[in-house]
């Protein structure tokens, strides 16, 4: 069905980076509506650069990237974004509901002391990520996993079609990691949202993924995990011998790319 599998992100021969330095080049791929996509690769390979292009915070050096058949623009309401870094820390004594509420109406000028409707919308977003119990907790007392839920609610509150999640798993233990991934997966499936998630380690994501974008050594490989993450396809792409190893539980490790993070 075209509505189910319509392309919502298309990249054609995109070269990304800065004036003096190309981060990756000749990237062409499509992402369809309702797909759960992992962006993986070594540190500094340009994973966040892809997000910056989609958010319109940075322009491609050449090639075109389109979202819903239009060039990316800053402030696209169709995108919900969870950055890797937040200014929020253990001294931020603001309740969760307020942050989510600002995610909904923080763009508006003027002063209205926030309508009850805003609070209700924010509360519903918290409920959708299973965090309504945390609504009145100050952000300063929340654990890493709880904070990620709040950030997810903040991103979801404006009802976006695309979720960009930058390393949401980085500070979580294995149990929280799995819980958050299940949550994102539920959001993707129940709302037909497209999620792009940057991660260090692909293994916890493998059960949920529709697609993987592997970024390393200035190149991108895109496709189903089974097709992309094989010794043959990666060796062919990079022109150097790369081995993809698999253990008895299906965990994989990518050997041959410097700073490989495929393994546990």
């Amino acid at each position: 069905m075209s509505t189910l599998h319509s392309k919502i992100i298309t990249a054609e021969h995109v070269v990304a980076g800065y004036q003096d330095k190309t981060v990756w080049s000749d990237a062409s791929f499509d992402i369809d509506r309702g797909e759960f996509v992992a962006i993986i690769g070594p540190n500094g390979a340009g994973k966040t650069t892809l997000f910056r292009l989609l958010l319109g915070l940075q322009q491609p050096i050449s090639g075109t990237i389109e979202i819903f058949n239009a060039l990316p623009k800053r402030g696209n309401p169709q995108i919900g974004y969870v950055p890797q870094r937040h200014t929020i820390d253990s001294e931020t004594n603001i309740e969760s509901l307020e942050l989510v509420r600002l995610g909904f109406s923080g763009k508006q000028w003027g002063f209205n002391l926030f309508s009850q409707k805003d609070r209700k919308v924010a509360f519903d977003a918290l409920e959708a990520v299973g965090a309504k119990d945390l609504a009145h907790h100050p952000l300063s007392v929340l654990s890493g996993g709880e904070l990620q839920r709040i950030f997810l609610a903040e991103a979801l509150v404006s009802n976006p079609d695309i979720l960009l999640l930058d390393e949401p798993l980085s500070n979580l233990d294995m149990r929280r990691e799995k819980e958050l991934l299940q949550l994102v997966n539920n959001v993707v499936r129940s709302r037909n949202v497209t999620a792009l998630l940057i991660a260090h380690n692909i293994n916890p994501l493998l059960p949920f993924l529709d697609k993987v974008v592997y970024i390393a050594n200035g190149k991108l490989a895109t496709g189903k995990p089974k097709e992309v993450l094989t010794s043959e396809s990666l060796t062919a792409l990079y022109g150097v011998p790369i081995e993809v190893l698999k253990d008895s539980k299906g965990n994989i490790a990518i050997i041959g790319i410097e700073d490989s993070h495929g393994h546990e």
Binding site: P83, T87, N93, L102, S105, G106, W109, G110, D133, A135
Partner: protein, 291 residues
């Protein structure tokens, strides 16, 4: 001074009436009230954005401006407004992404203090002017100063009302705000200008060196008492007001500087909340609803 000879009685109402017979006390209360409200509000954003050092630096740079104004025979508050606004604007533009912001600010701050010292030494009347800029001289506020304070305070209030939500959001979660297409640089500039104007009028009350007591301590204390921005702001304003009013009242009857009383009162508030209140307050039970 005249006030030292006035005895304090048990009749509070009579004491207040006595105090308000003096015009300088009326002006002091007028200006002090406006400054406390403004500092309490702007201070919340200073604390939220972790910009205490920038606010502190602005006030110090204001010292050079005020001293320069004195030298050229202009009212110090205009020198303050000009120097803090210009430097606030520059800081907002330069520092938006700079990792070493504190160092840069510190370097400029030291230089500007040196300039201030030069201006003061060039001005023959030196010591009292310098003293009042550094430590405040609220009892010397004229009706013109009070009016200017009212105008500046009203502008800040109006500006905060307009930018309230975007400023709050970009202070809290700048990355997301930027991705949402919000003008984070412009908001940063507006914030620094708010701090500049607020600091300029607050200097009259507590002086350049003690600006923290009204711009940071009340908000930092309030942040420990509430977790919704509007409530924190209200508590912050109340603390700043109490300290200013009490400080003025006590100093009318006791021969010590107002700014000493104000700084001590906010400090006691802070200590109480930090070390006593947080131990004795009832265990929090968080509700699960959207109210």
């Amino acid at each position: 001074m005249a006030m030292n000879s006035i005895p304090f009685s048990i009749n509070l109402l009579a004491d207040l009436q006595k105090m308000f017979q003096f015009e300088f006390m009326q002006h002091a209360f007028e200006a002090g009230t406006i400054v406390a409200i403004i500092a309490g509000i702007v201070g919340y954003f200073v604390v939220l954005r972790r910009s205490s050092f920038a606010a502190h630096a602005l006030a110090h740079i204001g010292f050079a401006g005020a001293a320069g104004a004195v030298l050229f025979g202009i009212r110090p508050v205009f020198g303050l407004l000009l120097s803090t606004s210009v430097s606030g604007f520059v800081m907002a533009i330069l520092g938006s992404r700079a990792a070493h912001r504190d160092t840069q600010i510190g370097i400029v701050l030291a230089f500007m203090l040196g300039m201030g010292v030069l201006f003061i030494s060039l001005y023959t009347g030196y010591a009292t002017e310098a003293y009042s800029i550094l430590f405040g001289e609220i009892l010397g506020i004229s009706s013109n100063d009070a009016l200017l304070t009212l105008v500046a305070g009203s502008i800040i209030l109006a500006a905060v009302a307009v930018v309230y939500r975007p400023l709050l959001f970009s202070s809290l979660d700048e990355e997301v705000a930027e991705a949402k297409g919000m003008p984070v640089l412009l908001l940063g500039i507006i914030f620094m200008l708010l701090v500049a104007v607020a600091a300029s009028i607050a200097v009259q009350v507590v002086g350049v060196l003690l600006i923290f007591s009204l711009m940071v301590t009340p908000a930092a204390t309030a942040q420990r008492l509430a977790k919704r921005p509007q409530r924190v702001i209200i508590i912050s304003v109340v603390i700043a007001l109490m300290a200013t009013w009490l400080g003025l009242f006590i100093s009318f009857y006791e021969p010590y500087p107002v700014s000493f009383f104000i700084t001590s009162i906010v400090f006691v508030f802070y200590l109480f909340v930090r070390f006593v209140y947080q131990r004795i307050k009832p265990k929090k039970i968080y509700q699960t609803n959207f109210q």
